[in-house]
């Protein structure tokens, strides 16, 4: 639709994940990087999205509820005591 034209900010913010996943065609990727180089707002937006992704990755270490963890470990001990159900 905007092929060949400059990319606008409202278009750029919708394709950041496509950009990060290297899923943009060459022409769109060029329009993306050209805009990004000249736009502080979009540069901040992309930086904040990257920060968000990084922070989301740290949630992996979050605690599991202890009761569910206990139930799973009990199941493991049962399995260990009686390895094959067949």
């Amino acid at each position: 639709m905007n092929q060949g034209q400059d990319m606008n900010c409202d278009e750029l913010v919708e394709v950041v994940t496509d950009f990060l996943d290297d899923a943009l065609d060459a022409a769109t990727r060029r329009r993306f990087t050209e805009h990004l180089a000249e736009c502080d707002g979009c540069d901040a937006y992309v930086g904040q999205l990257r920060t968000t992704i990084g922070l989301t990755g740290t949630l992996r270490a979050d605690d599991l509820q202890p009761d569910l963890r206990d139930r799973l470990l009990t199941a493991f001990r049962d399995w260990k005591a009686h390895p094959s159900p067949r």
């Binding site: 606008n8 409202d10 904040q48 493991f76």
Partner: protein, 226 residues
Amino acid sequence: MEGGQTTPMRPAPREADAGLVQALRGGDEAAFADLVTRLTPAMLAVAAGQVPSRAVAEEVVQETWLAVLTGLDRFEGRSSLRTWVFAILLNVARSRGARESRTIPFSSAFPPEDVGPTVDPARFRGPDQEWSGHWASPPRGWDLPESALLSSEVRVLLRAALDALPPRQRAVVHLRDVQGLEAGEVCALLGLESGNQRVLLHRGRARLRQVLEDYVLEDRVDEARG
């Protein structure tokens, strides 16, 4: 050794898996506990999109871990252990969801929360204005030290925002950004076309960024008020 890894955060998969599978077969409880701790939150998030309640999602996760343990001898390492666990999870969740007649196919038409702009259109200049489509109120720098963003307050906030995402977005964000799976793995697991996978991921990420922005700005207002 094969070529370099694409993402620095990713641990070397296959060799680590082989050691882990051996430990599990040998009944190493610490290894099991570690794996359970790493994967279960994402498993709950994915299962929750397929079944009617949190309680059922927990049952699905328990059933999955039992299936993983009893199936360990059949694990051949063709996929990563993690992908294999999630594949079992989705099978269990789907059959359970079908029984409870509440399966939401991941490939179904996008509901309203999965379409439309991800950034408030009011933040851009309107069609009649000069520089239409450019920022009217651009994001302000967060200017926070990394330690502030890693505080437990922010993590609790982010976790709550992640839990509040629509189910399909939540599942994709968990698998991609929390667990660090590759796009292709997530598409295969959830039966998603790659473009749709990116749409769901991007919507979820944009929402989480907005939550963080609101938090940072509110914090600054508080500071200004003294």
